[in-house]
Symmetry: C2
Subunit: 171 residues, 2 copies
């Protein structure tokens, strides 16, 4: 694991942060690609039968991440963040506390409807790729709210969808 | 000027952002050093007779920037941010909308007492170093408040102090 990933993992605070960790039998490169390619994100980012109507990725610190969520009834939920750290095949960090270009966000524009910073940390292990997703919050209340909204189930379902999608296109 | 500095300069929004621009007869390297070295920051960061009682710099994206302000009466005002982009001799970007480690800040911990992202962009010109300082805000109200607090005067005074300090140690 890279030193930086280790550092970020050790910075986890159980009172303020949530995480989902899994060993996945897919190369890091494919998971990173699925997380950074709009056409892929549209396939797995929302728990079905929800979908993504529109996705934009400007993959650099300060760049836009947008994945508009689409309900089965056709309602759109805006969802937007700003990338902070991008290291291919290792790490994706973004936040909805900033707009693209690093402007402080007047309000969170995300499905979670709260300020959070998301991290996807990928590392190689003997068993497969370690996938560690972390959500960092500004206080215990936001952390609890995100957990009660179904963080673990939701992020787990979309990870299942990501894996299924990647297997379907890489087979 | 680097493409990235140009892009950030063009992203300036007069309704939401403030800026201070000056041509300085000092090499970019010395200005960058003054902005990133705690011992230097303590000398110029606050308009005198205010000072800095404590300064910490963890110069990397996600790292801590702290410069506790000290009033002539000995009162301390906490001031803390998170670095976002660091390119030696070219660019320093930080925000108080995030804490170190990218956690969304529960409240702004800064002298300005509002969320902002600060940018120091340095470029070489034939006349000298172009120093462009930008403050980005979440809305017009915060921008106006920051301006009325004396942004232009304050950031101008500390730039004068920075120049004077650098000249004194480099002569």
């Amino acid at each position: 694991m890279s030193e930086r990933n280790k550092e970020l993992e050790q910075d986890f605070n159980p009172e303020l942060d949530l995480k989902l960790e899994r060993i996945i039998d897919l190369p890091r490169e494919w998971i990173y690609e699925a997380w950074t390619t709009p056409a892929s994100i549209k396939e797995w980012f929302c728990p079905k039968p929800w979908g993504v109507s529109h996705c934009e990725v400007d993959l650099k610190p300060g760049g836009l991440f947008r994945a508009v969520m689409l309900s089965p009834e056709g309602e759109e939920i805006p969802n937007m963040g700003c990338y902070l750290e991008i290291v291919p095949n290792e790490r994706i960090i973004w936040t909805d506390a900033l707009l693209p270009g690093y402007r402080p966000a007047p309000e969170p524009v995300s499905g979670a409807n709260l300020y959070f910073t998301g991290m996807i940390l990928l590392s190689e292990t003997q068993e497969g790729t370690k996938y560690l997703a972390i959500s960092k919050h500004r206080n215990k209340e936001d952390c609890k709210k995100h957990e009660e909204m179904g963080f673990h189930q939701g992020w787990g379902i979309v990870l299942d969808q990501l894996i299924e999608y990647v297997r379907s296109i890489k087979k």
